[in-house]
């Protein structure tokens, strides 16, 4: 893993030292929020603009660490490689399905929000994993797909005119040259061996239908956890000539996508949009609808009744390349808390409908095998991971992805990301996470990741028990515990009741 020295960053050392001092002071005095606010206030006073932030919200309670998987281990001396960790998406209405070997995907991270070397590292790692028998799903994010993602198969290249193909190669050469990556073998680059889901977002940052037609899945993005109800944003400083060319927008201007699809204002519009895409793709391609976690039950009910194959729900701590600070922090609910209304909506729907293979994916604060297993036990079929992959590439969690000062060279920097090391990091991260998942499932005496159930989980506090409906380690849930307290109070001198 390449570590970037602090003095190579475009920020002055004094500013960085100031930031660290502030953080130290904050920890000492327990006033993190106030000091963070001071920095934001200084920004507001200087330029009169809304302060932006990146990655996930600072969530004081995400419940994950209050939940334990009973009797499971991530680290086993036994070999559990026979455990099935695969995930299937689609088939409810689509003719095709997406099958992957792990129940997690690379979450939506656009070219633009992350730089080209990072996108290439993800691409190469997923190709290498596929060569090793592990297929992993990639989501493009809303900023369009890169040429080798759209035209990464012989089939997709077959019907292209020579002029079109030449223009694609010309743009690809420009992209590689701009990132000093001319050494990359273009023939190998244009061999996509993993399934790809493209996003259909309110900004429509793609240039022609081949974006949709060559994808293995299409995700209609209604919202995301970090900026629910706000729409996407790529700051002008990150809209380079090449990013602009890829998205079909003006360079150096911020790309604000509308807060809502101009043609999807409610349930009927969603159905119409899905049917439009179904017709375009001849009902072959799985369609996913993505929302941020807020009015979860109502949104899920609408998605279930549409012609979607799958829903993705993104929790409050779901990351972003850029969002208004206050929107990121203050809108949306946590992933674990959202899983209960998701489950309720699904089970209520299927009380009156036959099971038809609807899938549920969740994102937001999911980083490792244990968290993946917890989400699946609570009703998800799979999860999306973003921050984890950034960390695998050397992210320092400085949370400046919305600026151009990423010290790791992932979201923007003068430093070049080490593509080879990053590819290796991502490869190992996925392989090890798969092994840990196999260990968790195997140590529970099960053979399939889908067999992990909520009965395998316990909690250690009342609130987590309430929002997840999970019991404590003694087997009692919050209802039983509160009833016992009632009994104690009634049997003590406090209150006496008469039996009917």
């Amino acid at each position: 893993m390449k570590l970037v020295k602090i003095d190579t960053m475009p920020l002055s050392k004094e500013i960085m030292n100031f930031r660290w001092d502030m953080e130290k002071m904050a920890k000492k005095g327990g006033h993190t929020t106030n000091l963070k606010n001071l920095l934001l206030d200084a920004q507001k006073a200087t330029n009169g603009l809304v302060p932006y932030a990146s990655l996930g919200a600072h969530v004081p309670n995400d419940y994950f660490s209050n939940i334990k998987i009973k009797d499971a281990t991530i680290n086993s001396s036994k070999n559990h490689s026979d455990v099935d960790t695969s995930l299937t998406i689609g088939g409810r209405y689509s003719k095709n399905i997406i099958k992957t070997d792990v129940p997690f995907s690379i979450g939506a991270m656009s070219y633009g929000s992350i730089k080209l070397p990072a996108k290439i590292a993800l691409h190469l790692a997923l190709n290498k994993l596929a060569e090793n028998g592990i297929k992993v799903l990639m989501n493009t994010g809303e900023g369009g797909a890169l040429p080798w993602e759209i035209y990464g198969s012989k089939k997709s290249q077959k019907n292209l005119s020579k002029e079109h193909w030449d223009s694609i190669l010309q743009y690809t050469s420009k992209l590689l040259k701009d990132s000093n990556l001319e050494g990359i073998d273009i023939d190998k680059l244009f061999q996509r061996k993993y399934p790809l889901v493209v996003q259909y977002a309110s900004g429509r940052f793609w240039k022609d239908p081949s974006y949709l037609l060559n994808a293995d899945g299409i995700e209609i993005k209604i919202g995301q956890g970090a900026k629910i109800g706000h729409g996407g944003l790529l700051p002008g400083s990150k809209v380079t000539e090449l990013v602009a060319e890829n998205r079909g927008i003006l360079a150096n201007k911020p790309a604000h996508s509308p807060s809502r699809h101009l043609d999807i204002l409610g349930p009927e519009d969603l159905v119409a949009k899905i049917l439009e895409i179904r017709e375009l793709t001849e009902w072959k391609t799985p369609i996913i609808v993505k929302v941020g976690a807020s009015r979860v039950y109502d949104d899920m009910e609408i998605i279930l009744k549409s012609y979607a194959d799958c829903a993705t729900v993104d929790g409050l701590s779901g990351g972003t390349g850029a969002a208004p600070f206050e929107v990121r922090e203050d809108i949306g609910i946590n992933t674990i808390a959202a899983l209960l209304p998701m489950r309720n909506a699904i089970s209520d729907y299927y009380k009156t409908h036959d099971k038809d293979g609807f899938n549920l994916l969740v994102n937001g604060g999911v980083w490792d095998s244990e968290r993946i297993a917890k989400c699946i036990a609570l009703g998800a079929d799979g999860v999306g991971i973003g921050t984890g992959f950034l960390l695998a590439m050397g992210c320092t969690l400085i949370q400046e992805c919305h600026t151009d000062i990423c010290p790791a060279g992932i979201a923007g920097s003068h430093e070049k990301l080490d593509v080879e090391n990053s590819t290796e990091g991502i490869f190992n991260y996925i392989k090890t996470t798969k092994t840990e998942l196999e260990n968790i499932v195997g140590s529970l005496g099960k053979k399939n990741i889908k067999d992990i159930k909520s009965s395998d989980l316990v909690v250690n506090d009342t609130l987590t028990s309430i929002v997840s409906k999970l019991p404590f380690s003694d087997g009692e849930d919050y209802t039983t515990k509160i009833k016992k307290k009632i009994e104690d109070i009634m049997s003590s001198d406090g209150v006496s009741g008469e039996k009917n």
Binding site: N37, G292, R295, A337, N500
Partner: protein, 379 residues
């Protein structure tokens, strides 16, 4: 080691060749939390979030559509004050002349930019002002020429002073109340005051609200006003909340819980934006910074209701918010995220179920006592 560092180390461990970890990220986070104990000061505001709009309710677009922030202060018959941003700068202490000059400049510029805010101050109003000034007075004979006045509640004799002021003054009269506001607010409203001002920072330091959060004070103040208007229409009484309002998130959340206008601490604003050198305070630069700060805040204040699905900031209500804290749920009657019930409602439901199953008869008073005893533990 903080949680960010734990996460980073944990993922870096995963990136090593063929090595599963000794402990999961959550195991490591639990250890850090156990070691840290309860030293962290808990700010309940951080545990309150709003619900965004998507499929079940479309969001507005703050870049392309108008979001209304306009607020009127003043009941029927009073000369109303109009704010274009629901903020009154609030300062109890005497500011230096240069700070006051900077504020005056900034506030006038904000009016010119259709972003009017007002000020509550002990100082005398500037002659050349375009904005509204609420003067803090206790002696009604000392009213200068403000658009509104603020009187501080000391005892119930204030009623007579309010009546006297009302005869001579046609602008809004606000009363800053103390922790016992629930006992006498109805009398103030009957007398015709136009708004109740609560300073959450002061009130949470009182014995009555010891260990409680601003959320609790705002909730109780709104309930008190609502109780006065039960069965009749509110004729324009405003709830002005000041105290720990130092971020847009808190302004939005307090508005959701019932505040109509937020009092932003002047001293804090000057401290945040002031341009100082060793012996020089630059009024022009500071004025520009105050102006900038308020414009940015205005844009934030339009962005959040738009994302929640409102074109009017004042449509925010408690039902748009959820919490991930039992304490916040109890203090502000805020619904818990995911389950959409308050903790109090959950306990009451369990108690009712227990009573029905066990077939016991207890009266309302006993039920209330049991509920409170259970809730006390979470609080």
């Amino acid at each position: 080691m903080n949680e960010k560092a734990v996460l980073r180390r944990s993922i870096i461990d995963l990136c090593k060749v063929d090595s599963t970890r000794e402990e999961s990220t959550d195991d490591a986070i639990r250890k850090v939390r156990e070691k840290r104990g309860n030293d962290d000061k808990e700010n309940l505001w951080d545990y309150v979030v709003a619900l965004g709009a998507q499929l079940s309710r479309p969001p507005f677009d703050p870049y392309r559509e108008k979001i209304r922030l306009k607020t009127e202060i003043g009941r029927k018959g009073t000369t109303k004050i109009i704010l274009k941003i629901p903020i009154l700068l609030y300062g109890e202490f005497n500011l230096s002349q240069s700070s006051q000059d900077a504020l005056n400049l900034a506030l006038n510029d904000l009016v010119d930019d259709n972003s009017t805010i007002g000020i509550i101050s002990k100082g005398e109003p500037y002659d050349e002002r375009k904005y509204s000034h609420f003067q803090i007075v206790n002696d009604v004979n000392k009213i200068s020429d403000p658009e509104g006045i603020v009187m501080k509640y000391d005892d119930i004799s204030i009623i007579e002073r309010i009546k006297k002021a009302r005869k001579e003054f046609c602008g809004p009269i606000l009363v800053e109340v103390d922790e016992d506001f629930s006992e006498y607010t109805h009398r103030l409203l009957e007398t015709g005051v136009d708004g109740i001002l609560i300073n959450t920072e002061k009130i949470t330091k009182s014995v009555k609200y010891a260990e409680k959060h601003a959320i609790s004070v705002i909730h109780d103040a709104r309930e008190t006003i609502n109780a006065f208007y039960q069965g009749k229409e509110n004729d324009g009484v405003s709830l002005i909340v000041t105290g720990d309002m130092d971020s847009t998130g808190k302004i939005v959340k307090s508005a959701g819980l019932g505040a109509d206008v937020v009092g932003y601490n002047i001293s804090l604003l000057i401290a945040k934006t002031g341009s100082y050198s060793e012996d020089f305070f630059d009024e022009i630069v500071t004025a520009k910074k105050i102006y900038n700060h308020m414009i940015a805040t205005k844009n934030e204040l339009t962005g959040i209701p738009a994302a929640i699905g409102y074109s009017n900031f004042h449509n925010l209500s408690p039902k748009d918010f959820r919490t991930s804290s039992l304490k916040a749920s109890l203090e502000g009657e805020i619904l818990l995220e995911g389950v959409n019930k308050t903790y109090r409602e959950i306990v009451k439901e369990i108690l009712d179920e227990y009573i029905n199953t066990k077939k016991v008869t207890i009266d309302q008073q006993q039920k209330q006592k049991i509920t409170e005893m259970i809730l006390l533990e979470a609080n």
